[in-house]
Symmetry: C3
Subunit: 469 residues, 3 copies
């Protein structure tokens, strides 16, 4: 909600000039008109049928396209691309005007030429600016509280762009210049994106979930059906889900911290930080936040699935049956102190790990992470992150406890064992990396030191120059 | 925390000019003075008793009002409206100055004339700007991290407004121009607002909660007291609450998605999108977010109320009693596989529904929704929202299961049945609306197509013109 | 993500001028170069070894330092302070240029002179601007979504600063002027801060947790070992933790509301609001938010620790043992209606209190609190806060119920009693403060009234003047 001083001056100017034009009285045109009126602009709608003005906001005028074009310096084209050709007939009236192309397409690459460039070719005498296409009519109407308030603009005429940026600012929107009109195609693609950073993490989560689901389905349901002849299919809904979710969650949490371990190893191996990481590692590092958040969502489900256990029919039935049989047999099992310690430690570690996990999640909310400095952000995401991983791994290890040595069913190790592979690799590697000698070497490399390549004996002076290079 | 380049230049200018004046050494005056000093301004306080300067920040000067007025171009009036009349005596000294009215009233419409207009009438030679009244002394003091950092300004003199906007920017606050001084009354009302968008949703929630509470009180407590003579009043605290909350939550979640269904039906009926929705529907659509968040809060309570069940005395007592009686009677109930399936599915659907629900809630946090583009926001709030509604409705249906056919107590159907009415209406309508033929018609209408009104045979060309109108 | 209109114009200017220079091809230099390229700048890297250009972004040029200095008006010095002295040899080429010092130190006060001032002394002919040191290479690379996007700049030459601010804006970062180059030392310390506001609250939480842990360890574990000879050490993991967390949480929640009570009492005692609070009270008031959030984290752990109770081995064992013994003895305990009421009320109050608590936590997220006006913020944090405290205190009181009169073990009252001390003090004080007569006096003082000091009989006129002073 900015409107900087320059916007204000030119806004005052606009007010004297009078008007902003809008061609088209659709949703977006009407919402924009209303908002412009509220911000103090005069608004004229260009319409084929100026009498049909029932829907536009009170205070705005509806006239023919030609009349509207004459009254306003900046004109928003709130019409679909298919109908742009009517503008050719208005060419004389639009000479020297700023036309704002706000259109979006239905899918990527629908047209070879971007809408804004097409518009520019139709009305060569006007300055076309692409902008406002990332803002929804809804955001304009509801006071810009939902969805993005950022207006991205591009265009070839700096003054025309500035006029549009000024209008954006005076509407309480923020604006960013994205270069020449050649970037219009890119801007038109933005509203068509659907969580591009989340694809890989969600794909990994789906893949792992599917794999472990079928793995455990075979191990827990099919096995007991084939070997014991018991129908345990009801386990799918909760018991199985509550195994799959934590396994995938722990693995994904570890996958968040694996790339930085790999990066450190690569840097140690290369003896320099001035060598680019392989592409896949770069991509992996850029989606760590999303990986972590998906893992947190699964951990959240695991927590509720676990807490729901004692109200399940199956569990209540089993406990009653066991109590009744003990009561009948007149044999009371002795209290097992080790068991009590182990179970409580196991739960306690899980709870603390989950608490830290939620903290990590909260810290990655944009407004929170924005309030942290770089050191604080790193402290939370790296130090606390590794502690979280440690707690969750210990939680899984204690869950296993003495089950590690039990014979496998059909040569399939239990799920929790598989879930421990990646976390243990990460934790052990990290442990090695933070040992004083190794840590020292990495710090030196990260501060710019390079291992002299074979056969080259660099003098100290040369190394120093190199660091500045 | 912006301070754009222009602000910087004029800030540098201000520094040469020297000073900003503040009349009044109350909380706000002092906090503002400190903040201005930190931003590099010279600060002079105008005071009746310049020696009484113990409390103002170090580095600022305290002098008489006249002296202060002479030294500063911009003067903040941090004095209550009741004491404005002393300014009349300073008229000559204030000639041509910018006076910033930062005052607020205790209640709406306390005075017929806004404070800023009253100030302007007292000192006609000065340019009055209304501003900073929405910022708290606390926000200024604590580094603007809590509550709003947005400064809204209005005034008749663009240059005076710009000077105030510059100061706001240099203090790390954002600013928005709200027009002429006539808008001052509106700005003075803003700090008196108390969640205006939340009223309707909270009213609905309270109404539904009260209704279902008494409905279930009669059904679950009074009925068993009258018919069975049992005192079940202890159920009020948890059992009853845990029925009321999910019922209201599910109904309200459905109420979030009902208006868009109604809108689609209206558009289909009208055969055009160029007809305004009735006012109540517009209002309803604008508070969907709040409806959903209240419903989420109730769902959250429902989850904890449910998870707390097994540690309740009543539940533990009942389980022990049932186990003991089975043990005595020597009859073991057989394990019911269907029951296990049904209960587990019921819990699982509820958990997944709640997980999605929390996701919807997180996505409506301003900083998160701001980072989404329009398509992503719609995907989450519409697609995921309907899936959430589907899961939660299925959860309630499975909870009912075979109880649907049981006889009613006192002709009162159980609560969960009532909670299913609105969700089922929404889901069935939605199902009809996304059927290819209907969906196709709606999409056409939303793209601008209009059903030709009777008797008018529009040529294709005319329709096309119409779309652009 | 702002780039205001001025930035845009000068950006267009920059484009004609051609280039921004970067000395150094380390992480930060390369990330910055890439981002500048994306924003439409020409980028030249100054390097000792221009052929070693494998790593810089495509489109940028690598040349010798002298060549680069000649081509660019603004040059970022992405080199560590230790290597600054090579710049002395470039003095002629750097005459009149803007040098941006982006360096950070490894610890506070590492050097007596700030890096930027040192740079300025080395190249006196250039205008040095400190800036961009609070932004991480990571933030630049990943699109500025994580960690802070705020660029703080300081410098002695306003035009040079403006040029840097313009670049920041065009990169989608926000900028704030922090005064002359003398402030550079302060700016260099910012990235070294680690949660300064959280220290005191975390210290309090740690202290209280340690105290109550050992207190309860003696009372619950040592006592039963010494007196009864039973090993109850397994209780440490959950039972003990689940006593310590709520006790500390409730005490800390009360500590959030104690300072405002103390402040009101002080104001009443002083008879004026124009007397500064003692320093410790000011500091305490400024960390209330953090106190509350730490308390919320502990309450969150308490909730999960409580919900996990029924799946603990110890609890299941005890329940089974009790059921079996009842079954054997053939004695069924009668259902205790009061007990059911009390337990359910106790849980219900805790759940509602926790719900409100979470609401308070959500409201203190920067983006949420930013969207509230002052009155709304105060309503939530003060009114709802006190209701939360009331619910949680009632929850603890009901937990105690009839245990209050039981004999103490080793003269140590149970933990929950200790946890009630501060909350009860706060609630009773608050109750007294909101009684009409007291409330009236405080309101008068807060509106500016002062109790006439002894011996001074102020006329009404004088008081009025005083208020304005």
């Amino acid at each position: 909600m900015k409107s900087d001083s320059v916007a204000m001056t030119s806004l005052a100017g606009e007010r004297k000039q009078g008007t902003v034009g809008i061609f088209g009285t659709g949703d977006f045109g009407r919402s924009l008109g209303l908002r412009l009126l509220q911000a103090g602009y005069e608004v004229v709608f260009g319409s084929r049928d100026p009498k049909n003005s029932a829907l536009v906001a009170k205070g705005s005028k509806v006239m023919t396209h030609t009349e509207a074009a004459q009254m306003a310096q900046v004109i928003f084209i709130a019409v679909q691309r298919d109908y742009y050709d009517f503008l050719t007939s208005l060419t004389p009236a639009l000479e020297g005007k700023v036309l704002v192309d706000i259109s979006n397409n239905l899918k990527r690459g629908q047209f070879p030429q971007s809408n804004a460039e097409y518009l520019s070719s139709l009305v060569p005498g006007a300055s076309v600016v692409k902008g406002f296409n990332t803002v929804s009519a809804w955001a304009l109407q509801s006071g810009a509280l939902d969805a993005s308030r950022q207006v991205l603009v591009c265009g070839d005429d700096p003054k025309a762009k500035q006029a549009v940026v000024d209008i954006a600012h005076s509407l309480g929107l923020s604006a960013q210049d994205r270069g020449s009109l050649g970037a219009a195609g890119e801007l038109e693609d933005i509203p068509l994106q659907l969580f591009p950073n989340w694809r890989l993490p969600l794909l990994i989560a789906t893949g792992l979930t599917a794999f472990f689901f079928f793995y455990l389905l075979i191990r827990d349901v099919f096995y007991s059906y084939v070997v014991d002849g018991k129908d345990r299919s009801f386990r799918i809904m909760i018991s199985l889900a509550n195994k799959v979710f934590p396994i995938v969650s722990l693995t994904m949490l570890a996958l968040c911290y694996l790339p930085s371990v790999l990066a450190a190893i690569l840097q140690l191996y290369n003896g320099t930080k001035y060598k680019r990481f392989p592409d896949w590692l770069d991509r992996w590092m850029l989606c760590r936040k999303q990986l972590g958040l998906v893992a947190l969502a699964l951990a959240f489900l695991h927590v509720i699935y676990t807490l729901v256990i004692p109200i399940r029919y199956y569990v209540k039935y089993k406990i009653a049956a066991s109590t009744i049989s003990q009561s009948k047999d007149n044999v009371t099992k002795p209290f097992d102190n080790t068991m009590a310690w182990r179970e409580d430690s196991y739960y306690s570690l899980g709870i603390l790990g989950f608490g830290l996990y939620v903290l990590l999640g909260i810290t990655s909310l944009p407004s929170v992470s924005n309030a942290l400095n770089w050191r604080e952000f790193r402290f939370v995401q790296s130090k606390l992150g590794h502690v979280t991983l440690l707690f969750c791994t210990a939680h899984a290890l204690l869950y296993g406890w003495d089950k590690f040595l039990r014979p496998y069913k059909w040569c399939m190790p239990p799920g929790y064992m598989l879930s421990l592979v990646v976390p243990c690799v990460v934790l052990v590697s990290k442990l090695i990396l933070i040992m004083p000698c190794v840590d020292c070497a990495i710090t030196r490399i990260r501060q710019g030191w390079e291992r002299p390549t074979k056969g080259t004996a660099l003098s100290k002076g040369t190394t120093q120059q190199r660091l500045m290079a």
